[in-house]
Symmetry: C2
Subunit: 266 residues, 2 copies
């Protein structure tokens, strides 16, 4: 399901989880009113191979664009979302679920750059909707292990966007920021052991290292910063590590996050 954007969106729909309007390109009588984005149904990641079409293009333009993608694609209406939120959760074979708090993700050039945990100013109704959506999905799929759910916040509501049935980049903050890391939680889940406490220990933020190694000494001179290197060869647009920063409150976390950004992007 998570490998096919159409099946994924149909799953959301079937479980009563709102999504952006979507259709197979062949089935459209016109492009979507707010603009259309064409995405590969399978094999796409980090925004690669997506085509965007202006508002109100005719059906023929959508189909022409779909033919430029060398794989079946899905047409979705462009969503003017306020922000991307996500959450990670774990489920055991016997159906116990533990959800981490909603976090806020910031992308640039199609790549996840930062995750802030917890997401700021989340209305209780949204947090509860995300939790409910996650449990419905996990139970429907009879999922075992960790799963990530990416959502768009639009006009105070959540739209289901994407699933990742695994430990997830937007959950890396849990290593330092949560009582139990998503990696420990995944092992507990697949071994059918009691799940750990998934609550926040400290406000945290995660910054991906993309394309080049940072100045490790400068990063680690920021109080509360921890550096995770993946021992990968640095290449343009490749995630080769991440930095997590924690603070005793969100204000301190934000100051430290700003200091980490200064080191990485100055």
């Amino acid at each position: 399901v998570a490998q096919d954007r159409l099946a994924e969106k149909q799953l959301f729909q079937g479980l009563g989880i709102p999504t952006a309007p979507f259709a197979e390109p062949e089935g459209l009588s016109a492009g979507f009113a707010a603009g259309t984005v064409l995405k590969r149904r399978t094999g796409g990641f980090d925004g690669r191979g997506q085509v965007r079409l202006a508002a109100g293009v005719p059906a023929s333009a959508v189909r022409d664009a779909a033919r430029t993608i060398d794989a079946p694609s899905l047409a979705e209406e462009v969503v003017a979302f306020r922000r991307e939120l996500s959450l990670v959760a774990a489920r055991t074979p016997t159906g116990t679920v533990a959800c981490y708090p909603l976090v806020e993700n910031c992308h640039r050039d199609g790549l996840l750059r930062e995750t802030v945990a917890p997401a700021t100013n989340v209305a209780p109704a949204l947090a509860s909707a995300a939790d409910t959506a996650m449990r419905r999905i996990m139970n429907e799929l009879d999922h075992v292990g960790v799963l990530a759910l990416e959502l768009f916040e639009v006009d105070g509501a959540l739209l289901g966007n994407e699933l990742a049935p695994r430990v997830h980049n937007s959950g890396h903050w849990t290593i330092e920021g949560a009582a139990t890391s998503q990696f420990e939680q995944h092992l507990r889940a697949i071994l059918d052991l009691p799940l750990g406490d998934s609550s926040l220990r400290s406000p945290a933020a995660m910054v991906n290292l993309v394309g080049e190694e940072p100045d490790a000494a400068a990063v680690l001179a920021v109080p509360g910063a921890h550096l995770h290197r993946y021992d990968k060869v640095a290449r343009r647009d490749r995630k080769i590590g991440h930095v997590t920063v924690i603070g005793s409150d969100e204000h301190e976390r934000d100051d430290r996050l700003a200091a980490v950004r200064d080191v990485l992007y100055r």
Copy 2:
């Protein structure tokens, strides 16, 4: 220095760190007044190969006992200590030192069984003395990396007992209990990177798994418990893992520690 108990004790003495009275067995004119313990100068660990002699034995008895040990030994006066405390610290090549708080260790049959962090009711003067002793030792040895210092608390004072120039069993609680684990701290130190925050994040306790695998599900059903397995073959008196338990305060930590003990020893 840390491999030879005589050199170790002489180091303490030279740095003004009090120790139990000690001597080479050949040099004693009588056993110590409070009793004598003979320990291998090198190669001893976990209390193996130690010989205890009653108070007031003659010098000949000490020398006879020393001959039963197949290596040079050191005679020490038996110390009626209140408790064993220890601390772990890290030092960089340029001399920056970060000390973790004093912790309390409980041994049984010569093996470390439990560490409680922080040690309860430590007088500020003791904490400060431990910190000073650690810094003197690290600077004198020009040590780089993590080092553990074991101390006895006797009549409100600290006696230097033993050094371990490495990450240490009594520092395993730092993985969940401190802002930076001793393992991360060791890497920062030897790579001459800024040291991380060594303060406590939550009261913590560590229980060694000795000789047999625990009931993992029962251990992990205790809130705040984390299980660390070393993937070693279980053998009598062999440490094959440990459990760390954290709590929001010392009271909660103690309740959870009691629950872990119930699982392991029931």
